[in-house]
């Protein structure tokens, strides 16, 4: 009941914020949100409820916004980023494998989609986007497995820089001019046709919701299973885990591959929705934004990263007056949050093992 009420309030708030135009109303809404957040933290407000509620809330929001293309585009982007971050979450949050090349794997998915879309059914293309990301990731498995901490960070950072430069100087993949994608068609649905009188983005929202639900399902199932326990053990203490007979390498490889697969699928969907991809979208700075979302939300907690994705995507759009100061303010806000809430906005709750 409490959860349903919160979902309803959150939906109403999101609707108001997305529709708000004037700077005063936006500022007021944001202040309200911050106040509510602080109050919730003070009162140690804990929320638990079925995840279906959250998806229902997003669906309702999308229907409320059915004619507002831009808001729906933002909504889909949030869902896509949530999916991508869920992938990273498996790596960072569960197995403790750092990956500073999230945008690169997102990009592998996007480029795979652009190349295969004219030839294959698009549902398959989405999956192949993920598979390609997992495959490219396997090149990095050896160095990622052998290194730790900052050394592992370097491996993925080097890959992120290498990937972007490679895309730019390579002509066969469109070079800096990028590639255009055809319209997304799945079964009878042509995604660029309007849905009755409403925006064609509704279909993308729906697909985004499905993907997010699937990704969340996989990630939660993983966390709650003995695999999740094994991953936690590997992250928290490799040596102890090894002495209990866990194969560290196997779990790290599994987490890295699953994570990249999920991120790659998100990248493929993103490429379809934008209809155009270019190396600029997959720069190292984009990977950093993904990692910031993960840390801001609270590593290991899917709901935290959903909240953080929404903030990171919507806020800059709504604060148009700060224009060229956006990055400066974004960076400063991230620093402040991490200084005062080092575990993120919604930290991962401790595992409650049933006896």
């Amino acid at each position: 009941m409490k959860a349903a009420a919160v979902a309803a309030v959150a939906t109403a708030f999101a609707w108001l914020l997305l529709r708000a135009e004037s700077q005063t109303s936006i500022s007021l809404l944001l202040l309200l949100a911050v106040a509510a957040g602080v109050a919730a933290a003070r009162l140690r407000f804990r929320l638990s409820g079925p995840s279906v509620l959250a998806f229902a809330a997003v669906a309702v929001l999308a229907l409320l916004l059915r004619e507002d293309d831009f808001s729906l585009l933002l909504l889909t982007r949030i869902l896509i980023v949530v999916v991508a971050c869920l992938g990273l979450n498996v790596q960072f949050g569960y197995a403790g494998v750092v990956n500073f090349a999230g945008a690169s794997f997102f990009g592998v998915g996007g480029y795979t989609a652009a190349i295969l879309a004219p030839r294959l059914p698009h549902l398959l293309v989405l999956l192949l986007g993920g598979a390609a990301a997992a495959l490219v990731g396997s090149i990095l498995i050896l160095p990622v497995l052998r290194t730790r901490g900052h050394y592992a960070a370097l491996v993925t950072i080097a890959f992120a820089l290498l990937f972007r430069t490679f895309l730019e100087v390579n002509d066969t993949l469109g070079g800096p001019q990028g590639l255009k994608l055809p319209e997304l068609v799945i079964g009878p649905f042509h995604f660029n046709d309007p849905v009755f009188d409403a925006s064609f983005y509704l279909r993308y929202v729906a697909l985004g919701l499905v993907l997010a639900a699937l990704a969340l399902g996989v990630v939660q199932r993983l966390e709650r299973s003995w695999i999740g326990v094994a991953l936690d053990a590997v992250r928290l203490d490799e040596i102890a885990a090894a002495s209990f007979g866990l194969s560290i390498a196997r779990w790290k490889i599994a987490a890295f591959t699953i994570g990249n697969f999920i991120t790659g699928v998100a990248g493929a969907l993103s490429a379809f929705m934008i209809g155009f991809i270019a190396p600029n979208n997959y720069a190292f700075s984009e990977s950093l934004i993904l990692v910031s979302i993960l840390l801001l939300g609270g590593i290991g907690n899917p709901w935290g990263l959903a909240l953080a994705s929404a903030i990171v995507i919507v806020l800059p759009e709504k604060l148009q007056t700060i224009q060229e100061y956006r990055f400066l303010i974004f960076a400063a806000v991230v620093i402040l949050i991490l200084l005062f809430r080092p575990a993120g906005l919604l930290p991962r709750p401790l595992r409650r093992l049933k006896t």
Binding site: D69, R77, G175, E324
Partner: protein, 381 residues
């Protein structure tokens, strides 16, 4: 009842005095490496709007909605959707980065939003599709390189080495210059692609030095143009520096100092300072106290904004009517601060003029007026 009548009269008289507000969008890169040009473009479009709003004869009051495309296609499509789906926005002055423009034209078309591109130079933006919504005031890189290649071969350069950045801008320039220069009998000694954020070019320049070219063609923008020209000096490579529209700005000279002397560059359109309106533009721009200079493409953004507002004045704030008003039938020899504007079937300004520039005593001087043309000074060999 009487009160209502009074209120109605007051309202009517107010409506008669107050003009209807019309919103137009400006889209360009306001953050990141290309932000200098983006901010210059924004200020110039803003200037056009301010001047129009100060003009009592204008039918409408204009409101410029400024959007940042970050020079990234996804952000560009997002901003195009924002402008396109907002029915109160009737037109746009859009895009400096070609890659963003390429990504966004579909969106403009989908929403039927008339736009005038103010800086992106890739030919495909107007020519690849047949979108009635998309227009462009600046020329493409084709015209510019034709003139450049002809100029170089006429001045006795036979063996030219190329450095270009690997963005669409640099690659396009590389392609068209190579094409026109080899057609006129020249030889390309070597062709180096470099990334747009590269710092050190000594390895490329050392290699290039071994090829013994008699000039270096550079296809790219100011930041790395400056680095390459400065590092040529460090390596004792004294060949002629031949640039593109991307370096025609004061920053190129400021950042290089005396090293800039003698550098060549070509740009579409007549120079603003040569035209009556252009001088006025520069004066007004300085009067407004913007913190950034207009840069090379500011005048184009200004001209695009003026053209768009002229069309709105004539056709009214309706997207379809504005598109009709921007058709080739109506846009023919329109006077602007970048010379006459004539749209072809693809909404492309056919810009007959390419201006040749050379740096002389710390200024970009039109070639014809320079001491280099009169023979008093000589280009490097």
């Amino acid at each position: 009842m009487r009160f209502a009548a009074v209120a109605l009269i007051a309202l009517l008289s107010f409506a008669a005095r107050a003009k209807e507000t019309v919103r137009i969008a400006f889209i360009g890169p306001l953050t990141g490496g290309n932000s200098a040009i983006g901010l210059g473009g924004r200020n110039s479009a803003d200037l056009a709007v301010r001047l129009r709003n100060a003009d009592a004869k204008a039918k409408y009051t204009y409101d410029l909605v400024v959007l940042d495309d970050e020079c990234k296609p996804d952000a560009g499509v997002q901003m195009a959707t924002k402008a396109g789906s907002d029915r109160t926005i009737v037109g746009g002055v859009t895009n400096y980065c070609s890659v963003v423009a390429m990504a966004a034209v579909d969106t403009y078309h989908r929403f039927g939003l008339p736009v005038i591109v103010w800086g992106a130079v890739l030919p495909d933006i107007t020519y690849k599709n047949d979108f009635k919504e998309v227009h462009r005031v600046n020329g493409t890189m084709i015209n510019q390189n034709q003139t450049n290649a002809k100029f170089m071969s006429e001045h006795g350069y036979k063996n030219v080495a190329i450095i270009h950045d690997t963005t669409d801008y640099g690659k396009g320039h590389d392609k068209y210059f190579t094409q026109f220069f080899t057609q006129s009998g020249g030889k390309i000694a070597g062709d180096f692609g470099v990334t747009a954020d590269q710092q050190d070019f000594t390895a490329e320049l050392t290699q290039l030095k071994g090829l013994k070219p008699d000039a270096l063609y550079f296809g790219g923008l100011t930041p790395i143009g400056v680095r390459i020209r400065a590092q040529m000096d460090k390596l004792g490579l004294g060949v002629q520096f031949d640039g593109t529209s991307g370096i025609v700005n004061d920053d190129f000279i400021k950042a290089l100092g005396p090293n800039a002397e003698g550098a060549l560059a070509f740009r579409e359109g007549a120079p603003a300072e040569k035209l009556a309106h252009g001088k006025e533009f520069l004066e007004q721009y300085n009067k407004q106290g913007y913190t950034q200079p207009p840069e090379a493409y500011g005048p184009f953004a200004y001209a695009a904004a003026v053209l768009l507002m002229d069309a709105i004045e004539k056709a009214g704030p309706d997207r379809k009517k504005i598109i009709a008003q921007l058709s080739p039938a109506h846009v023919k020899d329109v006077e602007s601060i970048v010379g006459k504007i004539t749209f072809d079937d693809h909404g492309q300004n056919t810009v007959p003029v390419i201006t040749k520039y050379v740096v002389q005593d710390g200024k970009w001087v039109m070639w014809e007026d320079s001491e280099y043309a009169s023979g008093k000074r000589k280009l490097a060999k």
